[in-house]
């Protein structure tokens, strides 16, 4: 179920009978079983035609395109799937009501801080002393409940993220220096990994939202229009610590990434194709990890947690029942 296919080579993706076929530049053919696919991620230079789009559309498969420098470029979303005027109306009403918007936005921030803190607590238990960072994050989490404007909420979240990222340099092994978040372009290995990881989280959330009839362009913490699918930005923040950062630490601590996996230039550092492959492989493995859900009485995958988050938000908007953000409970 819900498999993602990442395509790194250059070439062509096409419909071939009832499957999708990848033909690489050196004429190698690969078939992608599409029945259980959630999305194709195109990282290379890929040609495709309208026949492919219709076919993916029939199967409800999204296609996420990554451009030069790993940047998320856009998605071709299947038309099928959910549309519901009622849901969109409720989404817009909540956005338009300043108190309601702020409530939802602060829940996102509060959940994000909790999840950052969970990562820090993990390392605090494993020989690092992060008492100060933990205190700082805890304090900001309290602070968020009393902000009264979106930009204040943004400020609290930015401060928390700074405190969180400040722990990275201690955790990272030699050869990996972080020294704060830089994007456009990332200036070192760690930043390039975070950029790539975050864009994978973002695209996965775009897929998850599609399953719910929520309109991905109407968001609460981020301003609608900041990105095409700004609601995905809101939800992705909750999951970056669980996905982007854990994958990063795992790969780096196990020595699975080396200098060869990065293209370093004067002011930028980008993952090479092999680096991106290594990262996305581990990322997909992580999405498939499962965890016992406390209310659903069954195990759910991390990928499904993204979908549940969209359901929870939709339920809140339609029923008025409280929205409680994803907070790592294990």
């Amino acid at each position: 179920m819900n498999d993602n296919y990442h395509i790194f080579s250059d070439g062509r993706v096409e419909r071939h009978n009832d499957t999708v076929r990848l033909i690489t530049e050196d004429d190698e053919k690969k078939y992608l079983p599409i029945e259980n696919a959630e999305a194709l991620f195109l990282h290379g230079q890929i040609d495709f035609n309208t026949r492919l789009i219709s076919f993916l559309d029939d199967h409800g498969v999204a296609m996420h395109v990554f451009g030069w420098n790993d940047y998320y470029a856009g998605s071709v979303m299947p038309e099928r799937g959910q549309t519901s005027g009622q849901t969109v109306v409720k989404q817009v009403r909540a956005y338009d009501d300043p108190d309601h918007r702020l409530d939802i936005a602060t829940e996102f921030v509060s959940g994000s801080i909790h999840n950052m803190r969970a990562n820090v607590a993990y390392y605090d238990n494993r020989g690092f002393d992060f008492a100060e960072a933990l205190g700082d994050l805890g304090h900001r989490r309290e602070e968020i409940s009393s902000v009264d404007a979106i930009d204040e909420a943004m400020g609290v979240e930015a401060g928390a993220r700074r405190a969180y990222y400040a722990t990275f340099d201690e955790i990272l092994p030699d050869g990996f220096v972080f020294n704060g978040r830089k994007y456009n372009p990332p200036n070192n290995k760690v930043n390039s990994l975070i950029s790539f990881g975050n864009s994978l989280v973002y695209a996965s959330v775009v897929s998850a939202i599609r399953a719910t009839a929520l309109d991905p362009t109407i968001s609460y913490l981020h301003e609608p229009g900041e990105r095409r699918y700004s609601l995905a930005l809101d939800i992705a923040d909750l999951f970056k610590p669980l996905l982007t950062d854990r994958v990063l630490f795992r790969l780096v601590n196990r020595g699975q990434l080396s200098a060869d996996d990065f293209d370093t230039e004067l002011n930028s550092c980008l993952l090479t194709e092999s680096g991106r492959k290594t990262y996305s492989k581990e990322f997909e493995k992580t999405l498939e990890e499962t965890i016992e859900h406390p209310n659903l009485n069954r195990k759910v995958s991390y990928q499904y947690l993204l979908r549940l988050e969209a359901y929870k938000l939709k339920k809140h908007l339609l029923t008025g029942e409280a929205y409680e953000p994803f907070e790592r409970w294990w």
Partner: protein, 184 residues
Amino acid sequence: MSEADPVELLLRSARDEAVDVSFHVTGVMMQYYVVCERELWFESRDIEIDRDNPSVVRGTQVDNTAYEDKRRNLSIDGRISPDLLDDGRVVEVKPSSSLIEPARLQLLYYLWYLDRVAGVEKNGVLAHPREKKRETVELTDEAVQRVEDAIRGIFDVVKSDSPPTAEERPFCESCAYYDFCWSC
């Protein structure tokens, strides 16, 4: 228009008379009313069902394969579609005994609807293929009362701005809204 009785409202809507807000009740809504009012509220809002969920087993399609009787389907204004046996009786088939009550109410509703809207009096058969049993169902005065109470109850549920809160029910596990209700 003054506060109309939901039963009146439904009849007038069914007859395409001018009403402020039309009100329709499908057979499935009758079933949900018995099974779970929250599910009924979701259903009435067209809140989508997670079709990926493999545990979703409830559904009216089961009926079509469960019984070999020759049946004709009579669709009335696209909203209610009772199945008729050759002898003209309305039949409703339910796969499991736990779903008999919902099926019985749906059947009674069809009988009521045929009587009040189409002016045809019919008897019904509730069939339990697994148990090889059939039960005749008639629209007694008491049954009419039950149907009309249900219509009023359904009206209250669907006109409400928010659904009844989730309560764990025996049907939850097989409900399409399970993750919606319980992921919290």
